[in-house]
């Protein structure tokens, strides 16, 4: 039921029963309890199906796939160096194209470090060239594989093993950086709203060119919360307004339906409700929390203005 419009692809909403019954991330894999990365990857397989090739740079996902001679991933998978995921995927897409194989999704599954820091050059190159790949950054807001060091995606105030008193700088706005490349599809998502992520993945797969999804992935180990709270934290991140869900389809900004009510400040849960559940923020002073709240309010003012501009 795909109907192409001048701007954007309209599709019937995705239902759980539409998902592939097959498991592409096998149970018993070595991810931590409550791991958002294995959850997201599992969903990715169920949406994109068997005609998908994964490219994974150094990250927790290098571990989640298990140890040779076993593998927990039932899709063809190429492990690659930390900085090289986007360009490797570009090469794979070109290789398939040269063979006339046009029905294979080439997908990067990379952490925030591999994306917003060391991988940014390769991503920028692939985005600017319009290489035909889907790039998913699962953002657990630190270098988890190497023991929770800060990354460019670590938020203000967060403790990591290299920011013992809390990070002093703000989180890098990677989705906007990708948008600046004028690619056909950019979206944000959260593990807390997994069907929204699924929908966006499916939409990304309908476009040709460089597609980017930035998936917030609350990590119990690195963020210091109990493993049964991954989804809850993922939802709070959205409902406090800290992590707005949106799409930029062919340059047009669209707030995701879940986030519409958040345009009104009274509908947003105060950020403290999100921060206080995570050990990484436990040292925050009142004024830090106030700064974060102000930052969020300003972010939403900007979103409202963006939507108003688009309307007139």
């Amino acid at each position: 039921m795909v109907r192409s419009e001048k701007r954007g692809v309209r599709i019937m909403p995705l239902r759980v029963m539409d998902l592939d019954k097959e498991e592409y991330v096998l149970p018993g894999n070595p991810s931590c309890p409550g791991c958002p990365a294995s959850l997201g990857l599992r969903m990715l397989g169920k949406v994109l199906g068997p005609k998908t090739v994964l490219v994974i740079p150094a990250s927790c996902s290098s571990i989640i796939q298990g140890v040779y001679p076993k593998s927990s991933i039932k899709l063809p998978l190429l492990n690659i160096a930390f900085a090289a995921a986007a360009s490797t995927a570009a090469g794979i897409a070109a290789g398939f194209e040269a063979q006339g194989k046009s029905d294979i999704n080439v997908v990067v599954w990379a952490g925030d470090g591999g994306t917003v820091d060391i991988g940014v050059q390769a991503i920028s190159g692939a985005a600017e060239r319009g290489d035909n790949i889907i790039y998913v950054c699962y953002d657990n807001e630190a270098y988890m594989n190497t023991g929770i060091q800060r990354s460019g995606a670590t938020p203000f105030g967060a403790w990591t093993t290299t920011t013992w008193t809390g990070k002093k700088r703000w989180k890098k706005d990677m989705p906007s950086i990708v948008v600046a490349h004028k690619v056909p599809y950019v979206a944000t998502a959260s593990i807390g709203y997994i069907m929204d992520f699924a929908e966006k993945l499916r939409k990304a797969s309908k476009y040709k060119g460089f597609k980017y999804i930035h998936l917030l992935a609350p990590c119990p180990v690195g963020w210091r919360f109990p493993p049964n709270k991954t989804i809850h934290i993922g939802r709070l991140a959205v409902r406090t307004g800290l992590w707005p869900l949106y799409e930029v389809e062919q340059g047009v900004f669209k707030l995701s339906p879940i986030c519409m009510p958040l345009l009104k400040k009274e509908n947003r849960i105060p950020v403290i409700e999100y921060l206080k559940l995570q050990g990484r923020f436990k040292h925050l002073r009142e004024e830090d929390v106030r700064r974060i709240q102000e930052e969020v309010d300003e972010l939403w003012d900007n979103i409202r203005r963006k939507l108003e501009d688009a309307r007139c």
């Binding site: 796939q65 063809p76 360009s87 090469g91 290789g95 390769a122 600017e128």
Partner: protein, 397 residues
């Protein structure tokens, strides 16, 4: 039908790539490699080559994209030089350890600082431990022919390792020479499309490539690369012969010899300087010096046994090393010296490759290593020998 064109070394590379029907090229410009990528871009744009050309944003990405393309089973190519090659270094290792039969042209240029765009071989020599087959050309004809032969050798199932074709900055890259371009039909027969197997990314057969390997198996993966290198020695010879049969051209195999049979003095050299050495030999012979040239056509695999044989029949050896290892001396010099070790006595050397990928080396292991070496010594073994310690034979079979 073959034709003769006047080509620079760089254009000879581009023609070699075109004749090899490469399907994906990914490259980034650097002096003096630039005219390779320019010419290939022209071939692709005007439809003379049916290929995808990824104009990547760096050499790291150039090799990464080449790796990605090659992993899907197509023939892939890149070219670089100097700083670009060093920037790419992480991925150079990745390509060989992933067993991908990529071919790369390296226009050999000095490293900075101070900035220099001129010729030497240190950039290429810096890759000598990476598991790539490395050949250096003497002239532009050999450049073209080596690109084509390299795909044949690299893609062979007994090898499955990538190849570098080195050409000297400016001396070859920008110097015009007559080059015979073989007919496409001839090359199509010599170099059919890349065999589809093994290790390709294929949704019908979802394999995980390059995941984590514990100390239990890592060393065997490395040993298999060494075996590929060893097999390449045979294939380099076979392929050179076969190429001669179809084109009539012979550039040598692992080595190329000039007036070596009666030589008392041997010049050992690699790359374009060999041509100059050959000229010099003619002059020197007139002066009464019995000189010959042993050109190392390949430096990986290193032609150790040929070097040992040739060196043992002369009185002195001159090595012209266009590269160096600070604190270690000339690079070819060291390889030549270790090849001939033992031909004039000296203690038995057992060079054990052990402990790769975290495999334990304990006191028991050291005891066994020493005992084994003593036994070999007592049984009269001499010279130097490389031994892979404690491989799991059952895994390798």
């Amino acid at each position: 039908m073959s034709t003769i064109k006047i080509l620079t070394g760089n254009y000879a590379v581009a023609w070699g790539v075109k004749l090899s029907r490469v399907k994906v090229i990914a490259a980034y410009p650097i002096t003096p490699q630039t005219t390779i990528v320019e010419k290939i871009a022209e071939f692709v744009e005007n439809g003379e080559m049916d290929a995808k050309y990824l104009m990547v944003e760096s050499e790291h990405s150039a090799m990464a994209a080449t790796i990605g393309a090659s992993a899907t089973g197509v023939r892939a190519f890149t070219a670089t030089s100097s700083q670009g090659l060093l920037y790419m270094h992480e991925m150079v290792w990745w390509a060989s350890a992933a067993r991908l039969p990529i071919v790369m042209a390296v226009v050999m240029r000095a490293l900075a600082p101070p900035w220099s765009i001129w010729n030497e071989h240190t950039d290429l020599m810096d890759q000598r431990d990476t598991g790539w087959l490395i050949t250096l050309a003497e002239n532009n004809q050999e450049v073209l022919d080596s690109i084509i032969m390299s795909y044949r050798i690299s893609e062979h199932e007994d090898v499955l390792l990538p190849s570098i074709v080195g050409l000297d900055a400016f001396i070859l890259s920008h110097t015009l020479e007559p080059v015979e371009i073989p007919g496409q039909d001839l090359i199509d027969e010599f170099l059919p499309p890349r065999p589809p197997k093994p290790f390709t990314l294929n949704p019908e057969n979802p394999i995980t490539h390059g995941g984590i390997v514990t100390p239990e198996y890592y060393m065997e993966f490395r040993y298999l690369i060494e075996k590929g290198m060893e097999n390449a020695r045979r294939l380099i010879v076979e392929v050179a012969k076969e190429y001669k049969n179809i084109t009539g051209r012979w550039h040598g195999d692992l080595v190329d010899e000039y007036k070596c049979s009666d030589a008392k003095i041997l010049i050992i050299v690699a790359g374009a300087t060999a041509g100059t050495c050959k000229e010099a030999v003619d002059v020197l012979r007139e002066k009464g010096f019995n000189v010959g040239v042993l050109r190392l056509r390949y430096i990986r695999p290193f032609p150790s046994s040929i070097v040992r044989e040739r060196v043992s029949s002369v009185k002195s050896v001159v090595i012209i090393d266009r590269s160096y290892s600070f604190g270690g001396g000339g690079i070819i010099g060291a390889d030549v010296a270790s090849s001939i070790y033992g031909s004039n006595g000296g203690p038995l050397i057992h060079d054990y490759i052990a402990g790769l990928g975290g495999r334990d080396i304990g006191v028991r292991e050291v005891e066994r290593i020493v005992e084994e070496t003593v036994r070999a010594m007592e049984s009269g073994e001499k010279g130097i020998k490389t031994l892979w310690f404690d491989l799991k034979r059952e895994v390798l079979e």
